[in-house]
């Protein structure tokens, strides 16, 4: 027994050695609590989940960048490129790169070769989840070590957005990607204000300040990104002061509760995730547009917003989120009209109502939203059966075309094209080899969506997008439900160094100017 106790004591003593962390850097560490059990990907071309994107934004730069705190394409500013020119026909873009920018981890100076490598990698479906965004890229060349030329198949008015510090626009080190291979996904090398230091599965990601950052040495020493899936534990850790910044809940009561605390600021920011109810037109009785219209008239956006809370939810304006390039914020949405809904159902031959089934995730915010819709539809005689499954099962099954209606909330690259292509172009229909997330089998505006993609005149392009929205709403491929904003909170000791109104990366941008008192 004594020997056993000795072994136990030895194990306990050995524990710290096994979990030894590298020495903390000089300067203060900013601690951020995120609602996730783990990160999945830190390779910017694969990172799509809410927990992965903020980390990527602290490590990488693009040729241009979204102004910290903003999600608008209008506010793009130089990043790794100092300046750029566009040819008369809009098809050739030439970027002059900043000189002397160093990659983290001794991977040397950033050159045109790295930019060409990165953009080509972003355009390759084998290495990037955003390859379709780069379909218009014809050639990407290094003119000299500090000049990059992009030739397009047709003009892309929002091209700068594609080379911004977001998704495929991030610039990676060619040497690092080649040297690290598969490991790059969890050992990212960029040029940003913070460098990756350590990843502990299910626990945390630690970054350290990059002293060679081209905008200056960061004021903070590093960032500790803690992964805390349990809501209660995360809230308690923030309350006790163990976290400086916390991912909040899209919940009015949460925002109010922390908003009352004297030393806390609650940040409710864009982009909003637009929640749509996609109606599968290949399933009966939803193949009848009158039935789909009846559903649209039976849903009250105002009630959903009221239930979810007006400070964290806004009414949807179209089938594309508000504020995207090309969103028609005066799109003709069907008004809430219960009598009309019932009349339409009767007209379609369903005077006693209909029953439809939706596969639904058990994630609370998404489930409660759908339960509100369920209650609303019931009043019009529409029985919405919810087949509640865990989140991964939900994702797998909705892609197998098993659901009559799909509740899906998402934010995308802020250009109408992305949302229209992924959700409403018939090429993206689920069940096909080119499937993305067209759950409704919508094909109402294929011509407009595809034409807009190659339309050189920005005004004509917007007109095409507007027509596409009108047609999709007219055919009721999807019913807009509401827009949910991102909720974060920070202690007042944290100074972001900019006005935090939006976060294209779904989390606060931590820059060289961010400080902690």
């Amino acid at each position: 027994m004594r020997r056993f106790l000795f072994a136990a004591a030895a194990l306990l003593a050995a524990g710290p050695a096994l979990a030894q962390t590298p020495k903390a850097p000089d300067g203060k560490t900013l601690t951020i609590g995120m609602a996730a059990a783990d990160v999945s990907q830190l390779d910017p071309f694969r990172a799509t989940s809410t927990q992965d994107k903020p980390v990527v934004s602290w490590i990488f730069n693009g040729l241009v960048r979204f102004k910290p705190g903003s999600t608008s394409l209008e506010t793009l500013e130089p990043d790794l490129a100092e300046s750029w020119t566009r040819s008369e026909d809009g098809r050739t873009w030439t970027f002059a790169l900043r000189k002397g920018v160093k990659f983290h981890g001794g991977y040397g100076e950033m050159t045109a070769d790295d930019v060409v490598f990165s953009l080509k990698r972003a355009a390759d479906p084998k290495t990037s989840s955003f390859s379709t965004d780069y379909a218009a890229f014809d050639a990407i060349e290094a003119v000299d070590p500090s000049t990059v030329r992009i030739t397009l198949k047709h003009p892309v008015p929002s091209l700068l957005g594609l080379v911004a510090n977001y998704h495929g626009g991030n610039v990676l080190s060619r040497k690092a990607v080649e040297a690290l291979g598969n490991d790059f996904r969890l050992k990212p090398i960029g040029t940003g204000p913070f460098a990756f230091a350590e990843y502990k599965p299910n626990e945390s990601v630690r970054l350290v300040a990059n002293p060679d950052y081209f905008r200056g040495t960061p004021k903070l020493g590093g960032i500790l990104y803690r992964l805390i899936p349990a809501d209660a534990a995360r809230d308690l850790a923030f309350t006790s002061g163990e976290l400086d910044i916390v991912y909040g809940r899209q919940d009015q009561r949460w925002a109010e509760r922390f908003g009352r605390e004297a030393d806390v600021t609650v940040d409710i920011v864009r982009p909003a995730e637009l929640a749509l109810l996609h109606l599968n037109i290949s399933h009966k009785p939803l193949d009848d547009v009158r039935v789909r219209r009846a559903i649209a008239h039976a849903i009250s956006q105002a009630q959903i917003v009221q239930f979810k809370g007006a400070s964290v939810t806004e009414p949807a304006v179209s089938i594309i989120p508000k504020g995207y390039l090309g969103t028609d914020d005066k799109a003709p949405l069907p008004a809430y009209d219960l009598a009309r809904a019932k009349a339409l159902l009767a007209e379609a031959g369903h005077p006693n109502g209909i029953t439809i089934t939706a596969i639904q995730t058990s994630l609370p915010t998404m489930l409660t939203a759908m339960q509100i819709v369920q209650g609303q539809l019931k009043k019009a005689g529409i029985e919405l059966k919810l087949d509640v499954v865990d989140h991964q099962t939900f994702h797998a099954q909705i892609r197998k075309d098993l659901s009559d209606a799909v509740y899906y909330a998402a934010a995308r690259f802020p250009v109408a094209d992305t949302y229209l292509t992924q959700f409403f172009d018939s090429a993206s229909t689920v069940g096909t080899p080119t499937a993305v997330t067209n759950f409704s089998h919508c094909n109402a505006a294929d011509a407009e969506i595809r034409k807009a993609r190659t339309e050189p005149d920005p005004e004509k392009q917007k007109a095409l997008w507007k027509d596409a929205q009108v047609k999709i709403i007219e055919q009721v491929c999807a019913v807009p439900l509401s827009e949910g904003l991102q909720v974060w909170a920070h202690r007042k000791t944290v100074d972001y160094g900019y006005d935090f109104k939006g976060a294209i990366h779904l989390g606060p941008v931590i820059t060289e100017a961010t400080d902690k008192k």
């Binding site: 027994m1 194990l11 306990l12 050995a14 524990g15 710290p16 050695a17 096994l18 979990a19 030894q20 962390t21 059990a37 783990d38 999945s40 990907q41 694969r46 990172a47 799509t48 989940s49 479906p125 084998k126 989840s129 955003f130 390859s131 598969n182 996904r185 969890l186 502990k200 599965p201 299910n202 626990e203 945390s204 500790l224 803690r226 805390i228 899936p229 349990a230 209660a232 534990a233 308690l236 850790a237 309350t239 006790s240 163990e242 499954v389 865990d390 991964q392 099962t393 994702h395 797998a396 892609r399 998402a410 992924q422 993206s428 096909t432 080899p433 080119t434 499937a435 993305v436 997330t437």
Partner: protein, 313 residues
Amino acid sequence: MLQFILKRFLLAIPTLVAVLTVVFVLVRVVPGDPTIVILGDQASASARADLRAKLGLDQPIVVQYLSFMGQIATGDIGRSLTTNRPVLEDVAHVLPYTIELTLAAVAIGVGVGVPLGVVAARRRDGFADWIARIVSLAGVSFPAFVSGILLLIAFAVQLRWFPVISTPRTGGILDRLGALVLPALNLGLLMVAYVTRVTRSGMLKALGEDYVRTARAKGMPARIVVWRHALRNVLVPVVTVVGLYLGVLIGNAVLTEIVFNRPGLGKLIVTALTQRDYSLLQGLMVVSAFAIVVANVLTDIAYGLVDPRVLAQ
């Protein structure tokens, strides 16, 4: 003794094969698609199909099963589908946390449960007995996440004695012990409840036995009669409870690990399951099944220590 241990491990092989087969089948019966986690929700169906082919997930299930078993037989438990890290590396990261938590919970369970059970039996229906009954009732009634949050609010948020996030920020022994106290108490509470009950009822029975009466009649001090003679016999069922408890610990530890945000085998299993990371999940099951086998062998050894007759058999 060595032969006994070796035999136990050999007997465990068919158990491991059975467990792995069940796990393999179960994770594939549950719908889900790891490519959604790996590629995100904007990738096209063809990109997903390519990745599934690369990961071998498009192979017939029998082929996948045989290749998985073959791999395990060579001692390779594979790489995580989502992070591509060797599963063994992830296990090595969380295992010290799990071992620490288990040992601490057992120490609390036995350290508090046995004396409490003995005292309760000696002072039946007295004050100590009431305390013991309340503790054991509370221990089995409180779900681990409720007791966990109560402990956090009291000792971490209000008193600030311990951290809310029970992941030590440094590798220092004090920091590590500080982070261990609340989760160990939470997990230990359930064990205190069971150990107290078993000890109390065993003691009540033992105190009425002839050998205790004889010892008393000989004029032996009560303390020695109770703690040396009677308790020794009571310890066999206590060891059984502890052994069983080790087996179900992973299940119980999940909630504790989640509430206290502490890495561990249980939490990693849940993550692997929610991400449909088949290879990580299978690897973790191999390790867990093996851990349970080891726990059983340790229990048997403990029987021998408590009651030498067991080894003689």
